[in-house]
Each structure stands twice: as C-alpha cells, then as structure tokens.
C-alpha cells in the first residue's frame, strides 16, 4: 500500500505509473529505497530478452514521445541503419524548457533510478554503450542527484561494464546545458553536446538515428518516455497498450499552471480525461469570482484554445451529421488536441481566466521566443524580434489596428520557413491568439498611432497627437 505525503495525495482520477514515487511517504532518491520497492527488477527481465524483442514491445505498447512531438518511440529506435558499424549513442533529453511543463523536474529530483533503469534498458535495446543525460542548467541539484544515482547504480552493477553479468557494457554521463531553450530540440541538443552553439541541424539528412552525435546513430528520448520503457518491459507492450485510448496509449503527466484553484501535476491515462474533468474536477475550477477564458493545452508553443469554443471535427457521424465537440469535452490526448487545431505537446496546460488581457499574454510569449531564438535562420531570428516589438507596442498602447495584421503576416512568414520547429513554436502562439482574440487585440490599439513612425524622434512628437 503506497501512501503519499499529507496534502500531496494523487487525485482519484489519476493513474500513477511514472509518478508512483513522487511525493510518496518515506520515499527518497537513494538506490536502497528504490531496491526495496522492487527497483531494477525490470532491468533484470530486460537483460534476459533479445534487444529486438524490447523494441518490439515498445512498438506494441504504442508509446509516443512525451517531449512534445508525440512521435512513436519504438519506431524512432528502428531508424538506426541496420548495417551500422559506428557506435550508437542514447541521449536523455532532460532540457525541460517548454513554458508550462514541469514533469521531468519531479522525476529527476525524486526518482532518479527510475530514469536510469529506463535508460539502461533502452540502451540495451538500441545497442548504445554510452548514454548522456542532457540536463538543463537550471536543475543544478538534480544534476548532482543524478550523478550520485549513477554512481550507486554502478556500484551495484546496473551500470558499467558487464551489466548484471549479461556481457553488455553501458556508461551514463550527466551533461549540463547552459540555459538555452533551443537545446530541447534534438539536433540542437546534439550540437550543444558536441560543444558548439546549439544550432539545430536540417533534416534530412541529419536525422539523429542515422547521423546524430559525432555523426553516429543517436537516439534522443525525453525523460518521461525513457521511464515508460521500464514499465512497458514489466507489463508487456500488449498490457501497456490497454492503458489510454487507441493510438494514444499509456499514461501521461499533465502539468496545470496559471489561473486554477489547485495547479499541479496529474498522471492520467491518455485520452481518459477531458478538459472539463481536468480543469474543474482535478484543478478545482477557476479562482473565486473568475471565469475561464483561454487554455494553452500543450506547452507555450501549442495553439491557444478559447474556453467558449466549439469545434467541427473531420468526418461524419453514423447518421451523416457533422461531428461537433465543445472545448470542455476535448479528451486530453495527442489526436484529439490535433483535431481541434492545437497539440498535446509536452503536457503543459496553461490556464488563463477573464482577468488576463490577451495582448499581455501574447507579449509575454513573444518576449520568450525573441530571447530564445538561436539566430540561425533569418525568418525566426528577425521575425521573433519583430513580433516582440509589435506586441510591446500593443501593450504600451502605441499600436494601431494595422499592427495586428502586420504581426499576423510576420508570424505566417516564419512558420514553415526554418530549419527546426522553433519557427512554428514561436509563430503558432501569435497566429492562434490573433485568430481567436482579434477583436480584443484591436481594442488595445488606436488608429491615430498609425501616423507615428517607430523611431525616437517620432515618439517624442506623440504628445501632439489627438484622438481621431
């Protein structure tokens, strides 16, 4: 019987697999504690399997990457060229930087051995003898916890030469980033690990599974994804696939922040919880006297949704009618959120109530992306800065209605024109906020501002302007 710390009990609608030990009473990150709980038994089981059989189980499980793109993990593993003779690397992406996302933090701080066990199994499956945990610089304590945990696992022969007498050797190293969001992009991460600026590589040809770290086959997986591998080995792929819904299997951790009564993390079966259940039942609804206004459902790059929205889905119902869905009935899974024009992304749900001005929200996000653009591709480097400048003007009351159209056109000129997905990540929030809150944004502008050029001399003349 697992008990949790006072005030940290999971919601009854949760299904705790990855977060089983988070906030657990009497739990600590040491290997002794982990072993008492049956830790590393799944590694033992995996070592008795064929590497290919583990990959098959992961495929059968239908595991989709939990970092943001939702790409099938097992399929990613099979992209290593079959005739490969180079060393294979595995990288754990612990750069958790997507605003709104805070799940990996709790895994690496509280349950590091779960990650290490998942990593060793994954290394065995893909044939990697060296693995790196690329951890964001802002988790200094976790970097130490992980290094200690690796040393403990090494002392017990779960990591190192000849793991559990299997003849398989694996080393895991912790590598700290340096506060750059772009390192969460897998090819940017690889460049960073090579000691360079984290400029993402173009795909093709640089698919990491073929040409990754040091131009060798490299598998980059998110922390949560690697933890799931351990549970898939224990449960078998078939059993794991019974969790969640079709094509959206297993559990995932939803991180809710912003304007709700009880923000926090909730591990649920994918697709088994709707937006209404999540925000009202699990998070306690809006703050007193407030109403929900808008939700970003999958990390700041995901397109914003209005809470009063309704959607017409693709296809027809059995009687030939349109398939309708209200915002509140959206199931929290990859395919449903894609069907309503947003994405499940990294699971970071940011909630805004009616006290928030969307121009302010937009400007906050634009400031983030302008700061984090790596600067490699012109549309993104310049565009993210222009978008910030325009939203700065909107917030300052110095924008004209035409600026909204300009902002929108800048966003659409970034989208799809960059090497990595940062272009979309920075432009989607702008596109969506304008599409859904155009009137509100225009209400923050003044037509007479159109006559003021954007330079310091002109700004000084602003005082002579009369409202039109």
């Amino acid at each position: 019987m697992i008990t949790y710390k006072a005030g940290k009990q999971p919601d009854p609608r949760e299904f705790r697999l990855i977060f089983k030990n988070v906030d657990r009473e009497g739990w600590d990150p040491s290997i002794d504690c982990y072993l008492r709980d049956g830790g590393y038994e799944d590694l033992r089981k995996a070592m008795g399997m064929e590497p290919k059989a583990i990959t098959e189980e992961v495929k059968k499980a239908g595991l989709r990457g939990r970092g943001g793109a939702g790409f099938p993990t097992g399929l990613k593993w099979t992209f290593i060229p079959p005739n490969n003779t180079k060393p294979v690397y595995l990288i754990c992406n612990c750069d958790e930087s997507e605003p709104g996302t805070f799940k990996d933090r709790y895994i690496v701080h509280q349950d590091p051995h779960q990650l290490i066990e998942g990593m060793v199994i994954s290394c065995f499956a893909v044939g990697a003898k060296v693995a790196y945990i690329y951890i964001r610089e802002e988790f200094p304590e976790a970097a130490i916890i992980l290094e200690n945990a690796i040393a403990e696992a090494r002392a017990k022969n779960f990591v190192g030469p000849n793991v559990l007498g299997s003849g398989f050797d694996v080393e895991i190293y912790v590598h700290r980033g340096a506060a750059a969001y772009i390192c969460g992009e897998e090819t940017g991460l690889i460049e960073s690990l090579e000691g360079k600026r984290a400029y993402p590589r173009i795909k093709p040809p640089y698919f990491p599974a073929a040409l990754g770290l040091y131009m060798c086959p490299t598998i980059v997986n998110n922390v949560e994804s690697l933890c799931h591998v351990k549970h898939i080995v224990r449960m078998t792929g078939e059993e794991y696939a019974k969790l969640g819904v079709k094509n959206n299997t297993g559990t995932r951790i939803l991180c809710v922040s912003g304007d709700v009564k009880k923000p926090g993390y909730f591990e649920v079966q994918v697709g088994k919880v709707t937006m209404r259940e999540l925000l009202y039942d699990m998070c306690g609804g809006p703050k007193d006297g407030r109403e929900f206004k808008a939700v970003i459902p999958g990390g700041s790059s995901a397109k914003i949704l209005r809470c009063d929205e309704g959607f017409t889905l693709k296809g027809k119902g059995p009687d030939g009618s349109d398939l309708k869905m209200s915002f509140w009935d959206i199931p929290m899974d990859f395919d449903s959120l894609a069907a309503v024009g947003s994405m499940a992304g990294s699971g970071g749900v940011i909630v805004m109530d009616d006290s928030r001005k969307m121009s302010w929200v937009l400007n906050n996000l634009n400031t983030f992306y302008a700061h984090e653009s790596c600067g490699q591709c012109t549309p993104c480097r310049e565009g993210s800065m222009w978008m910030k400048k325009i939203s700065d003007r909107i917030v300052a009351g110095e924008a004209s209605p035409k600026d909204i159209a300009t902002l929108e056109s800048v966003a659409y000129q970034i989208d799809g024109r960059t090497i990595c997905a940062f272009g979309e990540a920075s432009s989607w929030p702008v596109e969506a906020i304008i599409a859904k809150f155009r009137e509100e944004l225009i209400a923050d502008t003044k037509p007479e501002n159109e006559s003021v050029p954007h330079n310091p001399e002109a700004e000084a003349q602003r005082r002579f302007l009369q409202p039109a």
Partner: protein
C-alpha cells in the same frame, strides 16, 4: 585569435560584485575536472567538454574571463573563438561578475501570472538595484551597489505549478510571492559562500 584580440572581444567590466570572486587561475581542481570530463567523450571529441569546464570556471570565479577562455581553449585544443562563441551564445554564461548572491526570477507566462514581475520589483527595491538599464540580451544581470546581490530574469524554470519561482545561486525556491521577498533575502544575508 591572439590574446589581445580575445581581450578586446570579451567584455568583463568590473562590477560591485567582482570583489567577491577570485580572479581566474588554473587550479588542480580545474585540471581534475578537465580530466574527468574529457574521459566522458571520445578522444577526438575534446570540444564536447567545453560546457562542463565553463560551468566549473563560472561556479568558482563568478564569470568567464578572457584568461579562462584562453585556458579552456588550450586544454581542449581548440581555437579560443570556439570557446568564446559558446560563452556568448548561452544565456547561462556570464562575462562579468554577478553579486555574491545571484537571484534568477522566472519571467515566463505562468510565473508572470503568479506575480514574478512584482517579485522582481520588490527584490530590486529591497536590495537597491536599478534595473532600468537591464536588457534581456546584452545586460541581463544587474548588481546591487554593495555587490552583495544581483538579479536577472530567467526564462521558464520549469515549476509553473508553484509560481512564482526563483533560483538563488543553486537553490530553488517556489511560491515566492512578493511578500516573501524580504524573508528570502534574509536567508542569504549572512551568506559567506558565493556560488
């Protein structure tokens, strides 16, 4: 890149915090760190150790000076520009000294909604810091006149559910509403070790 060129390109102006950090000199500990990190990468990929070594330098000396860049470049057998380009790219590296206690307040959406801008204002008021010349790209860090404190806005620290949050040196603090700013500073007031 010659030494003088490097010095021209590395801006490490004196700050009130400089007095708390020893100038860069290669130490046995740094050598040991270099050996440890280089062992983690293939022999022909020494460049991979640049981030860990710069972290070590910044941790002990507060910032990364031209001398440090020169040393790291020589140790990794790469041109100094390859180290400098890393220092200038990553927001996690500084080229001048912060305060003895460095506070990074999360600026991004959920924390901003939770009051992180108000927290920053309060911290500046209590420490006498004037952030009016700060800009996120070139001058993110502002040091108090006494050198004991510095503040910086950080982008999402990944704890959005407990907003507003901040990192003080290497310690993480959550739910730091503006009314808790004084208590936070008090906890570091007698701080004798810098980061």
């Amino acid at each position: 890149m010659s030494r003088s060129l490097l010095e021209e390109n590395v801006a490490s102006p004196e700050t009130p915090g400089s007095k708390f950090f020893p100038p860069f000199v290669p130490t046995a500990a740094l050598e040991a760190e270099a050996d440890k990190r280089l062992a983690q990468f293939p022999g022909d990929q020494k460049r991979s150790a640049v981030l860990p070594l710069l972290h070590f330098v910044q941790h002990h000396h507060g910032y990364i000076s031209a001398e440090a860049i020169e040393w790291v470049a020589a140790r990794l057998e790469i041109a100094p520009i390859k180290v400098l380009e890393v220092v200038t790219f990553y927001p996690g590296f500084r080229q001048s000294a912060p305060g003895k206690t460095h506070i990074r307040v999360c600026r991004t959406l959920s924390c901003a909604m939770g009051g992180s801008h108000e927290l920053m204002e309060k911290l500046c008021e209590l420490t006498g810091i004037d952030r009016s010349h700060a800009d996120s790209h070139h001058h993110p860090v502002t040091v108090s006149p006494c050198g004991n404190w510095s503040v910086e806005f950080a982008e999402c620290l990944a704890s959005c559910g407990t907003a507003p949050v901040c990192l003080v040196n290497d310690d993480f603090h959550e739910a730091v509403t503006p009314d808790k700013a004084q208590a936070l500073l008090d906890a570091y007031q007698g701080n004798t070790t810098s980061h």
